[in-house]
């Protein structure tokens, strides 16, 4: 991968924005309204005066009509921490999923940083591995891109373990975007539930390869699990392929149902599709971008 995302594509991204539903406390000023009252020009609400409040914000007109002192409260705009969880397990090397995931992560990071948010990359396999800590600013774009360009697959996937560890070390809630093929033997429910419990706003980008969806091989095969390095001798015929597709579809439906039930945005993507198609259509349709 020479260039993670070319300048033409980045320019096209300028018109997009990452959809963040919740309000999160930020550290620095940004463009997202936070729960904190702020000093911006946008009026938020009134609140009763209490001693110690700044008298400059007393609405004297209201006092004239109602005879009570009210303080005008303005909104505060801060940055939002965006956590991009990137699955770097060995299963992601099948069908170019990791490359596509890295490009997606890059695009999302760019959009987040463009809106003055803090972005951190959290690669994971069986556990979290060293990534890029959340920071804001233009320089973070280069950090993120440099990291994503050099990312290598390794290890097995464990979504639950990785997310459990994440919530233990990170206390600042924000948007948590999970880009993975979600093929984890121990499931995904616990991990996503942990994120929800700790008031993160999870987003699942389920990325599968065309080979995962519709295997083209048939006959006498030795199927090798690239993560566990385990082989399964099997004769694959049409019937076996149909049964496989059925099982995969059931798994995917289970994931989608879980997400829908917990108000988690979910998008299913194929690594065989072009990146622009994913970003400008699929992610928009999935309400991840607008």
């Amino acid at each position: 991968m020479d260039v993670l995302l070319d300048s033409r594509f980045l320019k096209k991204l300028e018109g997009l924005e990452l959809v963040i539903r919740g309000r999160y406390y930020g550290l620095l000023s940004g463009r997202r309204v936070t729960p904190r009252a702020g000093m911006s020009l946008e009026f938020a609400e009134y609140k009763e005066y209490h001693p110690g409040d700044d008298l400059r914000y007393v609405d004297w007109n209201l006092y004239g009509r109602l005879g009570k002192l009210f303080i005008k409260v303005f909104t505060r705009e801060e940055d939002v921490p965006i956590y991009l969880f990137l699955d770097v397990s060995r299963s992601m090397e099948i069908g170019g999923k990791l490359q596509m995931a890295a490009q997606l992560a890059g695009a999302l990071a760019y959009l987040a940083l463009k809106d003055l948010n803090r972005v951190g990359i959290f690669p994971f396999a069986s556990d979290l591995v060293q990534g890029v800590p959340p920071r804001g600013g233009h320089r973070q774009v280069f950090e993120v891109f440099r990291f994503l360009k050099g990312v290598q697959p390794s290890g097995e996937t464990s979504i639950n373990a990785s997310l459990r560890r994440f919530v233990r070390v990170r206390r600042e809630s924000g948007l948590a975007v999970l880009i993975s093929d979600m093929l984890s033997d121990d499931g995904f429910e616990e991990g996503l539930a942990q994120l929800l419990y700790h008031r993160y706003e999870p987003v699942v980008i389920h990325l599968l390869a065309p080979e995962d969806w519709e295997p083209s091989w048939q006959g006498e095969l030795r199927l090798e699990d690239v993560e566990k390095r385990r082989e399964l001798p099997l004769y694959v015929d049409r019937e076996a392929l149909a049964r496989y597709s059925q099982a995969l579809r059931e798994y995917q439906e289970r994931l989608e149902t879980f997400c829908r039930a917990h108000d988690i945005r979910y998008v299913l993507l194929s690594s065989g599709e072009p990146l622009e198609e994913m970003v400008f259509h699929a992610l928009r349709e999935g309400a991840i971008l607008r």
Binding site: S91, I94, D181, L183, D185, A209, E211, D212, P215, W217, G219, E220, L221, R222, L223, E224, D225, V226, E227, K228, R230, E231, L232, P233, L234, Y235, D237, E239, A240, R243, Y244, A247, L248, Y251
Partner: protein, 649 residues
């Protein structure tokens, strides 16, 4: 048909590739997958796997079959259907000297061997498709072309072939040669010859095709020998001249040295079918090379001029030493002395063949005449009307005047002799050891018998020389000479050879031996090699054997057998041509190439190969599965039903 072509080898290689591909396909392929969780629990080897295995195997078989058909096609096999139903054919061409004779008195007319070749080609065409071998019946008989289906090769060999100067091949030897190269005796043997063979002497199943026709006038010198005079003073030149024409002829015979100097000349009148003998004395030691030439009468067309010249070389070695035991035989001893063959030693005082007196040389041969011989330990014995237990026991004599004398087999000792003209009068009954060979019989009574055991050689002759005409015939000295030669071969004695024989090479230093052949060519013989071409006498003339650089050469005179001259005569031609000949099929039954019944199979094999490949493709694509065929049948039935419905409507 050969597989040694680039295409065939390439296709063979392709079949190896097909097999390798098959085994690679059979090998389970390794496929990396993201997760095995959706595959686990599936049946590892469903029924379809077995079906696929069979499908692949059948596909491989079809591919290999197709390739085999193509390889076979490339090898250009042919389907041979013999037109006459004969699968193996042996063509035997008489290669004796008489085959060089012209068929008629026309000097431009064809020769016998040319007619033989012509007839052989007809037989070849008649048996198109048969496996054919070509033989030459000469001395020695030889195979010209081993069994082959390539009739072109036979035709080419026929075009090249010419007979030599040798005599007739012994039929027994010829038969074993002819039957040898075939796995089973050939179904048809055609012997093209000018020999007037009686039917009983022809091997069973052989067809004789005579190649003589019309009158064959021949004048020839049948014999020419030089013998020392019995008294040791000078030499005698003996000549036999024969008139094979139906008219009396006056001829002139000249005897010349090797340098064309005249030695003697004599005119001779010959009756039709008669042979006259000329004897000339030569006082001085004769030159080593003597040539007798026949001057033909004016206007006489000789069928074969090859026998108008004959060569002779005087014997160079000592005569045989023969010790006589028993009754003196005036005729026998006279014959031996007169012919210069033998030195007669007095009998031993004890009568034992092993006793040797002081001052008397050791005999080469012991002659018993009219007395039973003592049983010896070893030795060479000529028994004339004498027995020698346990090998020869003679009994009462029987009248044999009317009994025909016949040879029991072709034997070199009898070559050129005509025993049928002998009148034996009386012959003794003889009980002979079965380990020996009877060469002549008068009726059922053995007349000439040879026995050989380690250290012992016996020749038994049951002829009363005084009463019979044998002693007066020209055959007798020849027979006697050959008998002595067989009993006690004396190295270097023989100076007269027949074409087809080998030069006697026994010499002290064989390595320095050199042969100068009649055409002047020199060669070194290889005594360890059988039928060495250098030592083989194949043309008439003088052969010189040289030992080392300074030694005097030994000269041998080589001539065609006399019998060949006798075969070239009007009477012999009539006899031979009257022999029953099989009808030859017309030449039109076969094509000009001689392989009309041979069909190339490669187009069919190519077609079969391509069809098999197509079949394999259909099979691999599933068009030949039961389901597909059922579907096709169903569609066909439905269409037919609709059509019938429309027709009815």
């Amino acid at each position: 048909m050969t597989f040694l072509s680039l295409w065939a080898l390439g296709l063979f290689g392709l079949s190896a590739v097909v097999i390798v591909v098959y085994f690679l396909k059979r090998q389970a392929k390794r496929v990396p997958v993201s997760s095995l969780q959706f595959w686990e629990g599936m049946e590892r080897r469903p029924r379809s796997a077995l079906r696929l295995r069979w499908t692949q195997l059948l596909g491989l078989l079809l591919q290999l079959l197709a390739l085999s058909a193509l390889v076979l096609g490339v090898a250009e096999p042919v389907l041979e259907t013999p037109a006459s139903g004969v699968r193996t054919l042996a063509l035997v061409l008489d290669g004796s000297a008489s085959m060089q004779a012209r068929l008629s008195s026309d000097p431009q007319g064809p020769m016998r061997y040319q007619r033989a070749v012509e007839k052989a080609r007809e037989v070849l065409r008649e048996n198109a498709g048969a496996q054919v071998a070509l033989f030459e019946a000469a001395v020695p008989p030889r195979m010209l072309v081993p069994p082959t289906r390539d009739h072109g090769e036979i035709a080419r060999a026929l075009g090249r072939w010419e007979p030599g100067y040798s005599g007739n091949a012994p039929l027994a030897e010829l038969r074993s040669l002819v039957e040898g190269p075939f796995p089973r005796p050939p179904e048809r043997v055609v012997f093209l010859t000018d020999r007037p063979l009686p039917p009983e002497s022809v091997p069973p199943g052989w067809e004789l095709l005579p190649v003589t026709e019309g009158p064959a006038n021949n004048l020839s010198i049948t014999r020419f020998v030089v013998r020392p005079q019995p008294d040791g003073r000078g030499f005698a030149l003996l000549l036999g001249v024969w008139n094979g024409s139906p008219e009396p002829q006056s001829v002139r015979v000249r005897i010349l040295t090797g340098d064309d100097e005249r030695v003697a000349e004599q005119a001779l009148d010959l009756l039709p079918g008669s042979e006259e003998t000329i004897t000339a004395s030569y006082a001085a030691p004769p030159p080593p090379q003597l040539i007798a030439r026949l001057s033909l009468p004016e206007g006489f067309e000789d069928a074969w001029p090859g026998d108008d010249v004959r060569y002779a070389a005087p014997p160079a070695q000592r005569p045989w030493r023969v010790r006589r035991e028993g009754e003196p035989s005036f005729y026998l001893e006279r014959f031996l002395r007169f012919s210069g063959l033998a030195e007669i030693l007095p009998p031993s005082p004890s009568g034992s063949p092993t006793d040797v007196e002081e001052g008397i040389p050791t005999p080469d041969i012991t002659l018993y005449h009219g007395v039973p011989a003592a049983e010896p330990e070893a030795g060479r014995f000529l028994l004339v009307r004498s027995g020698m237990a346990p090998w020869v026991e003679i009994g009462e004599s029987v009248e044999a005047l009317d009994l025909p004398v016949r040879a029991t087999q072709d034997h070199p000792l009898l070559a050129g002799l005509d025993p049928t003209s002998w009148r034996l009068v009386r012959v003794p009954q003889a009980s002979l050891d079965p380990g020996g060979t009877v060469l002549l019989r008068a009726g059922d009574v053995p007349v000439l018998y040879l026995y050989e055991a380690p250290g012992v050689r016996i020749a038994y002759l049951g002829i009363d020389l005084r009463a019979s005409n044998v002693g007066l015939s020209l055959d007798f000295p020849i027979l006697l000479y050959r008998l002595l030669g067989w009993l006690a071969p004396l190295p270097g004695r023989e100076a007269q050879l027949l074409v087809g024989e080998e030069l006697p090479l026994a010499a002290p230093d064989l390595e320095s031996l050199e042969v100068v052949r009649p055409d002047g060519r020199r060669c070194r013989p290889r005594p360890d090699r059988e039928r060495d071409a250098c030592a083989l006498v194949d043309t008439p003339g003088f052969y010189a054997l040289r030992h080392g650089a300074g030694g005097l050469p030994r000269i041998f005179a080589a001539n065609p057998p006399s019998a060949e001259s006798f075969e070239i005569s009007t009477a012999a031609a009539t006899r031979a041509s009257s022999a029953p000949a099989p009808a030859l099929a017309p030449a039109s039954v076969a094509t000009a190439s001689g392989t009309g019944a041979v069909q190339p199979l490669w187009p069919w094999l190519l077609l079969a190969g391509l069809l098999l490949l197509g079949l394999e493709w259909l099979y691999a694509e599933g068009f030949l599965s039961v389901r597909a065929l059922t579907r096709i049948a169903r569609v066909h039935a439905r269409t037919s039903k609709r059509r019938r419905g429309r027709e009815r409507a």
